[in-house]
């Protein structure tokens, strides 16, 4: 039997494995993808310092480190059920059979929200993350010319990566207004999130104006005067006053039907145009991929500040269920660096149950997560700090009740 079983070989899972194994725990990591790294694999951006954050190289460093310790890393393993054994250990059911462990860490990361619009099931329509993986990991072109639907931090980060690889993105437009698209279809809300993106803001104009943009009146003026054909980001037009109303094609994507919208996202009649493309990326953002924690019986709370329904957990990454831990984006949508730091916390928290001298290192690791969060250059959730505080409060109430 394993001391520790970790589900998910992304930045959180790998960092946790290293920190469990350092303290002598027999550790297995499983992941259903063909190689370890999770969403870290696709990441590629330039830091304010000018250095590149290269997810493939960062993954390699983590995997090389796991090789120094007695860690079993198994890819192509899908987990579909989890049970707590009467004796206290965990039984995990996978496509490769049953696995058992004293401690279980669920580090399954995030999945993508999508924004359904007519024609979105046509082959050639994909999530923006799918295009990222196809480009940076598999190194296959997703198409000759495409459109991104949805203007948010995830979309801009990946747009940059697609441009780097020479993939032509004609323009970024908003999804049409619908009960599902909500804020994503409202130019005023979109400009608010864009201006918060700091260095990722698509033009110097928006970067400089981001302080002014915190005032609603300025946002309204900005949208009134927003250029009809959009601002250019390295050759791709950001069209906040256009919405995709349908994706069309016979058997696969051939074009997107767009319409002009007003500053609130309402379609302006008789303004439809057809843009020929062979692929479409839908960028709806990320949510914590938390089903397995629910299957294990962990209590949840809905915190939109963290990205959706998240398992209740402490800063030490333990959950109300004994010997069940969580780390990474399952706890809230943040960067890969923070996932890695949280994984270290989870690993040390598990190790501290056996080796009490680990406690000091654990407290330092928890402080490091908070420090990273303060200085992070990419922030996917506007109110992540509030969400983390709320979760901490919920955890303490849970403990004392």
């Amino acid at each position: 039997m394993n001391d520790v079983l970790i589900i998910g070989a992304g930045p959180a899972g790998l960092a946790a494995a290293i920190n469990c194994a350092r303290y002598g725990l027999a550790t297995t990591v499983v992941d259903e993808f063909i190689q370890p790294g999770g969403r870290l694999l696709g990441q590629l951006h330039q830091e304010p310092s000018g250095d590149w954050w290269n997810g493939i190289e960062e993954t390699k460093k983590l995997v090389d480190e796991t090789k120094k310790w007695p860690i079993t890393l198994r890819c192509g393993v899908s987990v579909y059920d989890i049970e707590k054994h009467a004796a206290g250990h965990w039984t995990v059911f996978t496509n490769e059979g049953r696995m058992e462990a004293t401690y279980l860490l669920i580090a399954t990361g995030a999945a993508e929200y999508t924004i359904p619009i007519p024609g979105w099931t046509l082959p050639g329509v994909m999530s923006i993350g799918a295009a990222q993986v196809m480009t940076n990991v598999h190194r296959v072109e997703v198409g000759k010319k495409g459109i991104i639907i949805g203007a948010n931090i995830l979309a801009f980060a990946i747009l940059n990566e697609l441009q780097l690889a020479g993939i032509a993105i004609d323009r970024v437009v908003l999804p049409m207004k619908s009960p599902i698209s909500k804020k994503e279809s409202n130019p005023l809300d979109v400009i608010t999130t864009i201006t918060k993106a700091g260095h990722l803001a698509p033009s110097p104009l928006l970067r400089a104006g981001s302080k002014l943009m915190k005032i609603n009146r300025f946002k309204e003026i900005a949208m009134q005067y927003y250029p009809n054909n959009g601002l250019k980001m390295n050759g791709t037009a950001l069209q906040l006053r256009r919405a995709a109303i349908e994706i069309v094609g016979d058997g696969q994507v051939e074009a997107v039907k767009l319409a002009k919208i007003d500053a609130s996202g309402n379609i302006i009649a008789h303004t439809e145009e057809i843009v020929e493309v062979d692929f479409v990326c839908v960028a709806g953002g990320l949510y914590p991929l938390a089903e397995l924690a629910a299957v294990a019986g962990c209590p949840f709370v809905y915190l939109p500040e963290l990205g959706g329904h998240v398992p209740i957990h402490a800063k030490s990454m333990e959950t109300p269920l004994e010997r069940l831990y969580v780390a990474g984006n399952i706890t809230g949508i943040e960067s890969g660096k923070i996932a890695m730091a949280q994984g270290k916390v989870a690993g040390l928290a598990i190790a501290s149950k056996q080796t009490s001298s680990v406690k000091k290192e654990l407290h330092e690791a928890i402080a490091h997560v908070e420090e990273l969060r303060k200085t992070s250059t990419i922030q996917f959730m506007d109110h992540i700090h509030i969400g983390r505080e709320q979760m901490d409060g919920i955890w303490h109430r849970e403990r004392t009740s």
Partner: protein, 111 residues
């Protein structure tokens, strides 16, 4: 679609072993350790499956095993996700097919 051989930041694609598999009885070239979905896209094939109920064509969507849109039959085993299943030499891959729906026929006859 082409393969991204050279990239301004990422390393050049390493030499990989070329293999062949069949998709709906057509021979497809692929590289070892790549997914079925990536190999098919590199051969300009986007349609991986036909919806079980209405027969509409579907391709990969999330590309990391979450959405279940890309299910294909691999060596006779149905509902394998093309986006997370590596191709192997001589593998037989068939697109997921529309299934008969006798209940719908009955409902239509009743209407």
């Amino acid at each position: 679609m082409g393969r991204i051989m050279n990239h301004p930041v990422l390393r050049p694609l390493s030499q990989r072993k070329k293999i062949y598999f069949s998709f709906n009885h057509t021979k497809i070239e692929a590289y070892e350790n790549e997914t079925i979905a990536a190999a098919l896209l590199a051969s300009d094939i986007r349609v991986l499956r036909y919806h079980e109920e209405n027969g509409a064509p579907r391709g990969f969507f999330c590309n990391i095993g979450h959405c279940m849109e890309c299910r294909v039959t691999v060596n006779g085993c149905a509902n394998q996700r093309a986006c997370i299943t590596p191709v192997t030499d001589n593998m037989d891959v068939q697109s997921g097919q529309q299934l008969p729906n006798p209940i719908r026929k009955l409902v239509k006859a009743y209407e």
